[in-house]
Amino acid sequence: MVLNIVKNATCTFCGCVCDDIELHADEYRITQAKKACMLGKAWFLNHTAEQLYPDALIDGKEVSVDQAVEAAAELLDQADMPLIYGMSNITCEAQREAVALGERLGGVVDSHTSL
């Protein structure tokens, strides 16, 4: 088993975004999150690389990612006022894409800030 050590890892659980975490991971799990707080440890240790969830669902039925992407695009394109919401647990790179998509769709783009 390969032990992967990542130094200066960044925790995105809360707004502190501490970037001094040392992660020890095997193939499937993070086994240690040194310097992380209780919340951060739980965050890192509760994720797994195992495929616990289906790739994609439509109406609760498993489908391929391609099908799901196509369905999503069709539904969003058809809408007159689509909403893109959330974005606090995605990367800035994904946020940029989300704004581009919202612009393309003519929709509303919003985050947790508005709450």
Binding site: N8, A25, E70, L75, M87, N89, S111
Partner: protein, 319 residues
Amino acid sequence: MGGKVTCTLGEVKNRADFIVYWGGNPAECHPRHFTKYALIPKGKFVPRGRKDRTMVLVDIRETKSARASDIFLQIKPGKDFEVLTILRALVKNQPVDRTQVSDTGLTMDQLQDMVDRMKRAKFGVFFFGMGLSMTRGKHMNSAAVLTLAAELNAYTKFVAMPMRGHGNVTGADVVMRWQTGYPFGINFSRGYPRFNPGEFSTIDLLVRGDADAALILGADPGATMPQPCIDHLARIPTIVLDPKVTHTSRLAKVHITTAATGISAPGTAYRMDEVPLPLRPALQTSYPTDEQIIRRIYDAVASKPDWMIHSGKMTSAQI
């Protein structure tokens, strides 16, 4: 209104000798805020760390964070705006109606002492949490603490910073500001960004039933939002991207599983003080990233006929 006097967290670590947490419970919600950034660390100009600092906690109940404080000011629920407004007046030696002060849960002596301490501080800071910004008065409560901090600069150095919650909510603000000019709640229906909190903010849109499709990214409104919002999300086609099948996924039309941010997905996240940090994922996954999926949805949408009529023109901006 509209300004903010703030700093990065290292300024607090190196200089702050007076730290006020208002409407937040860092001991339980931001555990390393005390130890890594604000209260405990030794700083360049506060070499004895905790000993060189005074901490005040303002809250409606005695949370675990109260134990860490030197002064705990317990105010009555919903009186934050009143207390902040009194402080603004006292800072400027303006009169306040003493008969009403006790309604806030504090005494005149406590308030005057707070004012004296704020003015005496070499470097003061307010960290304000959702106990302030999400209670009655909402954005006006935040505006009140920001204004108080700005006005204190006539006497000494003072700053304020919101204690942002979720991991990269700050990043969303920052990205939207540079791409659209506005921090959140942006409407592109006319082909350019428009902004009006209360009109284009998610809860308002969903309660009024104004959206007719939704894409949920890295959030689970199905577990956290008011019931009318959840009901509307269930009525319209909702699409969820998330590392887990969430409450929202269960009421959604489409769910796509994505790599977890910072665990399996690389990229950037912003700290609450708008300092960008790289993510260093430790696990490999076969799930695609949010970034990849959103891009693919974009490409699929872009291959369809364009609905936009005035594409590429310049116009006069409006709300």
